[in-house]
Symmetry: C2
Subunit: 282 residues, 2 copies
């Protein structure tokens, strides 16, 4: 496995592979890899001739007062894990190369899809995501790019961007990986103390309960929302950022549960903000 930090070198490598007819899979990550990331890499390994994993903690998708500085980093451990998964290249560019002095070009998806949920709580976040993802696509030139369903809104936004700006590639969404007790894997889970780690189980538990409620016939969005809220509020430390139930294809608001629906949560435990979600089809 090769580690590349130079943007030019990465782009040249990709251009050569493309000319040789190779199918490139890209897994964009912010590093500190867990089984969730590795499931994306395994999927890419199955589908593609060559697998590139980018490891880059993208400063422009963090807001003021967010955890950019503290975000956990361990590139040598990431490289070990990726070597075991038979990735071909780890692309780990420097922030000063990705955003040199005077940098001022951005890619943005507007509308409800970026305005609600994490877009409302984290202004500018999705602009940072769509910009860095565009840059990574241009540098690594993948045929397929893999994103976790854990960041459900990000997956939708990136899919819309790729479709509307006609990027010559396909986005593959990969299911959430959970701990045995239900907690969705996240690099941010390391922030949690023992008590918070235990209380954070209300996220997956409330989603499961909502699914059961819908299975039992409930179709009123507000009633399902309140049911989730009641369960989350059994955790003394939980501070709810949002509980949203929207159409899964475009996050349009709903009053009744019909078709494919995304139930999405963001909840803070202490200073740690966790997200989780569930797709339900009626």
């Amino acid at each position: 496995m090769r580690t590349i930090t130079s943007i030019t070198e990465m782009q040249q490598w990709s251009s050569i592979q493309k000319k040789n007819g190779c199918r490139i899979g890209l897994v964009p990550t912010m590093g500190y890899l867990h089984e969730g990331h590795l499931s994306l890499v395994r999927q890419a390994r199955q589908d593609c001739d060559l697998v590139v994993v980018s490891v880059f903690v993208n400063p422009i998708q963090f807001g003021v007062g967010e955890d950019f500085e503290e975000y956990p980093r361990d590139l040598s451990r990431d490289c070990q894990l990726l070597d075991q998964e038979r990735a071909d290249v780890v692309f780990a560019p420097l922030a000063k190369d990705m955003y040199p002095a005077g940098y001022n070009s951005f890619v943005e998806v507007y509308g409800e899809i970026t305005e609600k949920m994490c877009g409302a709580s984290r202004p500018g976040h999705f602009r940072g995501v769509t910009t860095v993802v565009s840059k990574l696509f241009h540098i690594c030139q993948p045929d397929l790019a893999y994103f976790g369903q854990k960041d459900a809104q990000q997956l939708l936004v990136v899919k819309k961007m790729v479709e509307e700006l006609n990027f010559p590639l396909k986005i593959i969404g990969v299911p959430i990986v959970r701990e045995a007790d239900g907690l969705a894997l996240s690099s941010r889970n390391v922030y949690l103390n023992e008590q918070q780690r235990q209380e954070a189980l209300v996220l997956s538990r409330s989603l499961q309960a909502a699914q059961q409620l819908i299975k039992d016939g409930e179709r009123d969005v507000e009633k399902v929302r309140v049911h989730i809220k009641d369960i989350i509020e059994t955790s003394p430390q939980a501070q709810i950022d949002y509980i949203e139930i929207n159409r899964a294809s475009d996050l349009a608001s709903l009053e009744r549960i019909e078709g494919k629906v995304l139930i999405a949560l963001a909840v803070k435990f202490g200073t740690t903000r966790l997200i989780d979600n569930l797709l339900v089809e009626v």
Copy 2:
């Protein structure tokens, strides 16, 4: 020569050619081709294995009250000319395919480079340009893309976008083509009546005079500007939009003429807005 209107078909064609190791040159145009466009096509024909010319009057780069509806169009004549120049593909997509209902993804370069000159007179214009050019790059996947020096600010903005967003291609600027009497070629010249066509010569004449003044030792930007203004105002119909003298690399403002300088004009004759420019190096 092949004419393609389907985005999917164009993208598939490009992907196949790239896999075969072919070097693709793209000439993005709004059609109604003149010798200026054809000089771009000839340059691409020299440099590349395959030449794609896009013909698309891009609605989102026109402001309210501008000439989108009247903009001259003649695709069959364009195709004839491009066939003579041995272009390989004319890509002429439909607006409803480029911007389907709900379209909301944009690429934008911020800062002085898009805020002054045509950016000030035509709000949203460059956002329309950078968005359509990004789409065309993703669809046609060129190794080289050709833009006229006539639209000097557009050339700078597109170069900055390509560099900052890491598009895997190179932008080639091609010199202005002029009529024998000095008028820069433009599809919009057909709007001019005989009197306006004659008066429009003040543009190239004032630029030549400015160049001479600088050759003779003048270094004061304001004095050169006033000299240009005086010459343009000898035309009774001319309404000046802007006369700007800026650093050629990034359009930074200057008080003294030094290094590479761009002298750029936008002037209306009746309802027809013409632009012209000159690069001067001291």
